[in-house]
Amino acid sequence: MSARGRLAPLLPGIVVAVGVTTYVIVLLGVESQTGIAALLAAGAGAVLAAARFGVAARMGRAFGKRDNFLNLLVVLAIVVLTVYFYEDHFVLLMVATVIIYVIACLGLNLQFGYSGVLNFAGAAFFGVGCYTAAVLTKNTDVPHLVILVAGGLMAATVGSVLLLPVLRTRGHYSAVVTIAFGLLFKIFLEVNDTLGGPQGLRVDGMNVLGWEFNDNIEIGENFEASFYVNYVVVGLILLVLAFALVRRIERSWIGLNLDAVRLDETAASCFGINIMRWKITAFILGNFLIGLAGALYAMMLGFIAPTNFTFGDSLILVSIVLLGGIGNPWGLAVATTILIIVPEKLQAIQEYRFLLFAVMVILILLFRPEGLLPRPLRAYFPGWRPK
């Protein structure tokens, strides 16, 4: 195939990637409120127009066909974004936060979207990762990359405490177990002084092989990049790994088992699928990812307190998974970006953030319960759709 022939199917994808990246760069760069509002309106308009003219469907197919290449494009886009805003602390902080939230929501998605295990304590497991990082950086000399993994492991371990009640219950009862745990976690942290109590804990910044993450990157006299670049890079690496992991699982026989468990437990167990085992796998793995994200977040922020991990924050994580389309990792990324960046940029709606989220989710549940980018049917050949 000639070069042009190979490139042609990728063209829509590349165009979209470039367009979206430019849009996001402009959105992040503009300061004035009216400018941002106008941009958002234009963006929404463009998306609606695309849906109307069937462009969206074509792009979806293009994405489906050339998964890996387009994933690469997205990574490239984030790199371009980082380079463009290299000295703007705030924008990079937002980008890093979005990346971390996407990792956490991927974990939640594994539990919720793939195997149907309700987890309303997402923020609590995130908090476990954060506190692990805080305690380990302060009291031990464990290398910080290992601390990230330790955060994930701690979250998985704490989650296993909940395994028995979560597995034995279904539906509403299962929900109440995780809600109770989420509340218990926050109250326990507030009441107990050993982990800092309501005053919270300070967390040292990451330090990998002597490279201190909390210092601005200075190359020569004139070049000073924001120290958040470090965190964006690490976050990106973790995101790629987590995303790859989740996609692989989804595509594999493990994903098939998880889907079966979610869709119909009774039928699945009739077929000999061990429900317990798959639910446990999903729950533990999901919590691991959430804890991992938490550990990185703590080190980036430098300070954590119990009020970071309230029930409302768990609900935000669940809203993201729901809005994006349950089970679709891409939808997650889009939803996270919207839910984190828009309130930050539109100062006027900052206060009304929670209210708007709640109303948005209610509307989505009433009118489009599948979410923004519903999970497409499993396709044997990537990108193949039945006519």
Binding site: V30, G35, I36, L39, A46, F53, H89, A305
Partner: protein
């Protein structure tokens, strides 16, 4: 289905971006714009103090912008820290990360202020605390960026202990919140009380959003203390006062600067009568520039009063503005200049002389004793309780 036309897409995208950029550009102005900041609790139970502080800082900026001799045009960015440490850290990070922000007046809640000092140091943003009283904020670190114009809780509690034991009270029960603010008050008051011969029958730590205090209060009732000392902020102060009444606990209620607010009196209603509290700094009317400040505040027409610490917020913001006028809008220069406000370089302000010691702490000599009388916080010496016409509990 119409064919996907690249040109359509490009047109829409270009239009969007051009509009955005056009609207984003600000019109050219005469004076250079300088951004300063204010952080305080604008929502939640302590919001009256935060809003009062914000209005006062805003007043300072407005007066300065109305001054034709000012070199720059100032813009005040305001953030709400909700009196929660993590929200405060977020707000501080936003300000620190904002390359246009030169300096800020920050925080009423001590629990938040102690958590954010690291952030300000990380970003090199000079700040002046206007309302938080925990000593550690300035004395617990060596950060050059951190300053404070109001006093600390040490003197407050010294005076309180001496005064209360002087009145004849002998036994205390202490309730304090578990943030560093409450713990700090507990520590300093207990120390001073024991020195002055008072006896502490029990100490109870409560969370800052606790609803039900019947458990602690039932226990305290059985201990039968003369005074119930409360080290914490208005929201739970109100609850404790109301629940004391329900249990028939007849001890005298003594609070700290945390409850000297109109919200406490509104919240406790008639139960606020006869409550004692202590605060560093003279009441606003009696400050050197107090009357002028109140006049100008009234003229601007803010719908909320400046509350107890408004004057300090005004002082902090004014000092920041003066410094920027003197050395220009540069964080490092402003920081160094602020550290120079000491000794012979002490600045004048409506709250008196501002003289930072080597930790950036201003000294406030006066401690005011308040008693709540007829729905207002009245200075003790002027009250009917001091003159004997009304009696405190247990007298």
């Amino acid at each position: 289905m119409p064919k996907f036309r690249f040109t359509h897409f490009a047109a829409v995208a270009a239009a969007a971006m051009v509009t955005g950029l056009a609207l984003g550009m600000s019109p050219a102005g005469a004076k250079e714009k300088v951004t300063v900041g204010f952080i305080g609790p604008l929502s939640g139970g302590t919001s009256s103090n935060g809003i009062g502080g914000r209005n006062s800082a805003d007043l300072a900026v407005r007066l300065r912008n109305a001054d034709p001799n000012a070199k720059y045009e100032y813009e005040l960015l305001v953030q709400d820290d909700e009196c929660k440490p993590n929200i405060g850290v977020q707000a501080a990070t936003k300000f620190g990360a904002n390359k246009d922000m030169i300096a800020a007046a920050t925080h009423y809640c001590s629990a938040v202020a102690i958590s954010t000092v690291d952030v300000y140091h990380k970003f090199g943003l000079p700040i002046i605390v206007w309302g938080a009283v925990l000593p550690d904020i300035t004395y617990g670190n060596n950060y050059k960026e951190v300053h404070r114009v109001n006093g600390t809780m040490i003197n407050q509690n010294e005076t309180a202990a001496k005064f209360m034991t002087g009145l004849g009270y002998q036994t205390w029960a202490i309730i304090h919140d578990t943030t560093d603010y409450g713990k700090g008050h507990n520590k300093y008051f207990s120390e001073n009380l024991v020195k002055n011969g008072g006896k502490i029958l029990g100490t109870f730590g409560v969370t800052s959003d606790q609803q039900d205090f019947f458990a602690e209060l039932t226990k305290i009732k059985s201990l039968n203390p003369d005074v119930l000392y409360f080290g914490g902020l208005t929201p739970i102060g109100v609850r404790i006062r109301a629940q004391m009444e329900r249990l028939g606990l007849k001890a005298q209620f003594q609070g700290t600067s945390g409850i000297v607010s109109d919200t406490f009196i509104e919240g406790a209603g008639p139960l606020a009568e006869g409550v004692l509290a202590f605060r560093e700094g003279a009441p606003t009317e009696m400050l050197p520039g107090g009357k002028l400040f109140l006049e100008q505040y009234r003229e601007q027409g803010y719908s909320d009063p400046p509350e107890a610490y408004g004057a300090f917020a005004f002082t902090a913001m004014n000092l920041i503005l003066d410094t920027i006028e003197a050395v220009g809008p540069d964080r490092k220069k402003v920081r160094n200049a602020l550290n120079n406000v000491t000794g012979s370089n002490a600045a004048d302000s409506i709250t008196g002389k501002v003289d930072f010691d080597d930790h950036g702490q201003n000294t406030i000599a006066v401690i005011t004793k308040y008693v709540s009388q007829d729905g207002k916080w009245t200075v003790w010496e002027n009250s009917e309780y001091a003159s004997g016409m009304r009696k405190l509990k247990g007298m």
